[in-house]
């Protein structure tokens, strides 16, 4: 398999022509070997229209044992045999491609739309729909029998939360199947990115998932830097990395608080709710915005951290740290909390690998992946992040996901502190050398707080985006939540959902 793929490092670009374009059979066999024998996962799989009306299908594979990304393409007409049959990881990607370009993967086990929009290039609809699709209107699994019943929730949920539609097939209190239909947050980002970059591109990236702004802007910046040729100053890379870790700490803290809230353990819920804000305010101290908007741009960062601010932030971290761990320890030491979390919403390691779970959810199942280590880039090259010590007995349940978050908070907090004590000297921003190079493909992966975020850009002959593919970690993980609910009580849905805490807008784009 080794010679079939184009192998490139994270955050680099290569001529599009250097990505081998092979026959479908060759593609399937090579990818199958990589996924099944070498435990690689599908980081991205997307279609791109070609001039003759065919589509070039490109996969990006990522593994834990190599710092290279594997790229391979084949050409598809209107139909091709589904890859999902052999590799379940492809199922969501193939549904996405069918919806975006009307290309039908034959014998896909459950081919449904995922976002409910018309095709991007006005190709005929894969399901033969002629009217504009209505969100949520599609086929669902139905369980029949006198005691069987269906619970439908959403799109509007009870709390202050994004919209999505959930259908549970239940017998009494027990859930047999959960289906998740999204698309309500679809704003058409990928379509608007075509022909870019322009003045709005940066802001589409920052708002692709509003709670993942730093990760998203960093990934986009790396793509632009790879396409334009630019060496980012060390100081900027350090500021990006520490802002990314602050984003991680803030979100994990909020999630632990929300988990506590869902099992009615109010002390941790209220303390973490406030402490999350402290970390957001630290980000605002750096760039004026609590979510890190306007901080990361192609070429570097827009705001420096002067010595006085480093000292202020360090003192601030020192002050908050005991309060944070006090609130978290309280919750992990309470038997009634642990009882609700343990053995709830379990996803097995085999399933996690088969469906391609990433990030916190994947690590909680015992998968060791972390692209900050396997594919280090930017600040993580200058200051390698220490391997995460896995918490004991990661079994893929709610407790494991909470424990992984706890471990990562500790780990990231130390990393932020290390950077603040020793920021590299120099500028924080440099000009891009040129406009994006023509006919190139660039891939960048960032370990966002939910998991790996993969951007792939292909430029046309004028250096404009011919395709820009965003794969949010939630895209991989939503199906994991559906699996976690099987055999659970329906009343455990809120804690299962919070333990994943996936992004709707990052998925819907």
């Amino acid at each position: 398999m080794n010679n079939t793929f184009l192998k490139i490092k994270n955050a680099t670009a290569a001529p599009l022509a250097s990505v081998p374009l092979v026959s479908f059979a060759e593609f399937r066999d090579a990818v199958k070997q990589a996924v099944q024998e070498h435990s690689m996962r599908v980081a991205s799989f997307f279609a791109m229209p070609e001039e003759n009306g065919d589509h070039r299908m490109t996969v990006v594979l990522c593994g834990d044992n190599t710092d290279l990304l594997y790229l391979l393409s084949f050409r598809a007409g209107r139909r091709y045999p589904a890859l999902t049959a052999d590799m379940p990881q492809f199922h969501w990607f193939e549904r996405e491609i069918a919806e975006q370009y009307g290309i039908v993967p034959e014998n896909h086990p459950w081919l449904k739309p995922i976002r409910f929009h018309r095709t991007l290039d006005n190709a005929p609809d894969a399901w033969g729909r002629t009217d504009a699709p209505t969100a949520g209107v599609t086929d669902y699994f139905r369980m029949q029998g006198t005691a069987a019943h269906e619970v439908a929730v959403g799109p509007v949920h009870a709390g202050v939360i994004e919209p999505g539609h959930f259908r549970f097939q239940c017998m009494g209190e027990n859930v047999y199947s959960l289906e998740i239909e999204l698309g309500y947050q679809h704003r058409g980002i990928e379509k608007m990115l075509l022909g870019g970059p322009d003045k709005k591109t940066q802001h589409f990236m920052e708002t692709a998932a509003g709670d993942t702004t730093v990760a998203s802007a960093t990934t986009y910046a790396r793509i632009m830097e790879a396409l334009c040729g630019c060496t980012v100053p060390g100081r900027a890379q350090a500021i990006r990395a520490l802002a990314l870790e602050l984003e991680r700490i803030a979100n994990h803290t909020g999630d632990c608080g929300a988990l506590a809230g869902d099992v009615a353990f109010l002390p941790t819920a209220s303390y973490c709710g406030r402490i999350r804000g402290e970390y957001l305010n630290m980000t605002a101290e750096i760039c004026g915005n609590r979510f890190g908007r306007n901080l990361v741009i192609p070429g570097g960062v827009q705001f420096d951290i002067p010595q006085t601010m480093s000292e202020k932030l360090l003192a601030w971290l020192d002050r908050i740290r005991p309060e944070l761990f006090h609130a978290l320890d309280l919750f992990f030491d309470t038997p009634s909390v642990l009882d609700r979390f343990e053995n709830t919403g379990t996803v097995s390691k085999e399933d996690a690998r088969a469906i391609g779970l990433v990030g916190v959810a994947g690590r909680a199942c015992g998968l060791g992946m972390d692209t900050r280590q396997s594919h280090p880039d930017g600040g993580y090259q200058l200051r390698p992040i220490q391997p995460l010590r896995p918490a004991n007995a990661l079994t893929g349940d709610v407790l494991s996901r909470a424990a992984v978050r706890y471990g990562e908070i500790r780990h990231s907090e130390r990393y932020v502190r290390d950077w603040l004590k020793a920021l590299p000297e120099g500028d924080v921003c440099t000009e891009l050398a040129s406009t994006p190079a023509p006919d190139m493909i660039a891939v960048a992966i960032t370990e966002a707080w939910r998991g790996e975020l993969c951007h792939t850009a292909v430029t046309d002959k004028n250096g404009k985006f011919r395709r820009y593919k965003i794969v949010d970690p939630s895209f991989h993980n939503w199906f994991g939540l559906a699996l976690a609910l099987r055999g659970q009580q329906i009343s455990d849905f809120p804690i299962c959902n919070k333990s994943f805490n996936l992004s709707y807008c990052g998925h819907d784009l």
Binding site: H117, Y184, G188, H203, T207, E285, R290, H326
Partner: protein
Amino acid sequence: MFNILKARLVQGYRTGKFPHQPPVLPERFLGRPVIDGSKCSAEISSQLSEMCPADAISGCGNDLQLDLGKCIFCGKCQEISCGGITFSKEHAVAALTRENLICNTANSRNYTPEEQVRCAITRLCGKSLKIREVSAGGCAACELDFNVLNTLAWDMGRFGIQVVASPRHADCILVTGPVSENMALALQKSFDAVPDPAFVIACGACAISGGIYAESPETRGGVCGMFTPDLYIPGCPPHPTMILEGLLRLMGKRFLQKKA
């Protein structure tokens, strides 16, 4: 049990002092912009309107204006405007009418936030406001920063403001996001379920005007095409202080501010 009681003592009372004291905002925070059109030549003005990613800037000279309903507070205009546009730290940016979101040279001098007059809102919701939040294509940032008002750091419950689960229990809906096509029906149904007189709050640039998503065929460009909001809270996302200040002003609440 004892650990929990001890925790209560250790963690202490942490609710912020706003609105009884001025808000604590970061040094680099961008608040309401101050416009001085006389400082911008025609050339700079046209550059400004061209480079603004949200298409919020128009006019030149004394007619130079910035539409806060579109502005995403990226601050790019500040860098090239030669002092024509400067962002202050003023957090009272919310407006009760769409026109009052337009910042220009005239209304930048001696800016005072628009006061609520006695009306159905103050009569019915002056002491308590029940909000049903509907996220319609938002990026989750507005939702999150509205949600933090429920945490003990802000505790909006002390002003009688509460988030309710059902629109039937609500006085108003608070909309975030540019109203994606896929959410338009659900948003309309949520609004229809709110008992009369149902008020509407547009929170964030997307909800007010569609923000940077205004031109996407997958969105409706904000709520204004569907309803007339009673409160507009600009920002991308608005800082929690901006949201809380707006809500309190909508309810006609006044607070004497002590010096911090």
